[in-house]
């Protein structure tokens, strides 16, 4: 790939870097407890919690670093952090 003049880049290609490999703990979501309030989606520093068709959290594990912020902040305690098994 030729160098871009002025050390510039087209936007959004940070996605080439799959930070999910950093994870040692993995958030698991219990949709029975979830009230789809969206807190986890809003506060994820990785911007990797989306919504599924029914409005429940849908994690992109390609990027989730397993920080546990979502689990900590979930008002319904619907997210549990589990040790990654690789």
């Amino acid at each position: 790939m030729p160098l871009n003049v002025g050390c510039s880049a087209r936007p959004g290609n940070a996605r080439d870097n799959k930070t999910g490999s950093w994870r040692t703990f993995r958030p698991e979501f219990d949709n029975d407890k979830c009230n789809t309030c969206g807190t986890c989606m809003m506060i994820c520093p990785e911007v990797c919690i989306g919504e599924d068709e029914e409005g429940y959290p849908d994690v992109d594990y390609d990027f989730c670093k397993g920080c546990g912020l979502c689990a900590e902040e979930c008002p319904k305690e619907a997210i549990k952090m589990k040790k990654e098994e690789k």
Binding site: L3, V5, G6, C7, S8, A9, R10, P11
Partner: protein, 386 residues
Amino acid sequence: MLQIMEGSHAVAEAVKLSRPQVVSAYPITPQTHIVERLAEMVADGDLNADYICVESEFSALSSCLGASAAGSRVYSATTSQGLAFMTEVVFNVAGMRLPIVMTIANRSLGAPLSIWNDQQDSIFLRDSGWMQLYAEDAQEATDLHFIAYKAAENYDVLLPAFVCFDGFILTHTFEPVDIPTQEEVDAYLPAFKPYQRLDAKDPISFGMYATPDYYQEFRYEINAAMTRADKVLREAGAEFGEMFGRDYSGLVESYRLDDADTAIVALGSVCGTIKDAVDEMRKDGKKVGLLKLRSFRPFPAEDVKKALAGVSNVAVLEKNLNIGSRMLGAVGLEVKDAVYSSGIQVHSYVGGLGGRDIRKKDIKMITEWAEKGKDDCFFGLREEVL
């Protein structure tokens, strides 16, 4: 049209005719007359630009950087301490490949504080990635601004440029200058078309950081662009010559060098005094000539080699001091490299620092020194105060 005016005002006219959209500068002697005139032009509506009245040189060039990245043709001017204060941004602008043109009203660097002329301020930034063009008189200073924009904005170059002209000696001198018309300049220098710009409709990230995997390649590219600038500057200079009748197709200019045994090499306004001195020495039967360097970056080594091919001795008149180097001046180092292994003797003679006047008799003296092979040294030194 030929008019008589102050050198600074001639440069301000050239800047106006180049149609910058953003001008950002901080006042510093002896650059002030340029920016004051530009501010007047903006105030009177003669120049359709935003004049950012910044709080420092550091912000002057930083705001130019932003304005250029956002897609405007921009201009700044400074000198000496101001240039030193912007140093970090100077390197940054080149690295981001922004074609900013900045006038340097050459002045010495403190300490001791001195407002007077030498060329240490621009010379010390030789590795920054900016082109460095030097003017002999107000006319050349005027013309080089158009050429600088044209070359800087060329996609094969995309490097910023200093147009250097000697503080006071040129900035504050009244002399006849041919100022072209707006139509003529527009025909030579079309509206700025940025290679890329900050634009919400087509976003880019600009000025990212590079890991060891990439950094060296970026620096390689800057150097390659500077190498290409040699050709682009010549072409821009030749085209200028065709349109305006003043030829700048060469990055060096030889004066009575054809049969010369000794050559004097110099940059800037002192070349005028040297030409007069050469004429007088020629009358006395001395085979001496001048090689004037119009560009120090890119350094036209091949031209220098060719121009000096027939001479035995070279006196490089240095208005800078290469402290700690065996070769006393930075220009001499480059000249010596250009003629390496040719057997030509090259000497740096340092003088005119901090505004010390350089007279024809000084030129004659260093010519004799070079003929005798006198080692690098200062000239015009007041031994009695040492």
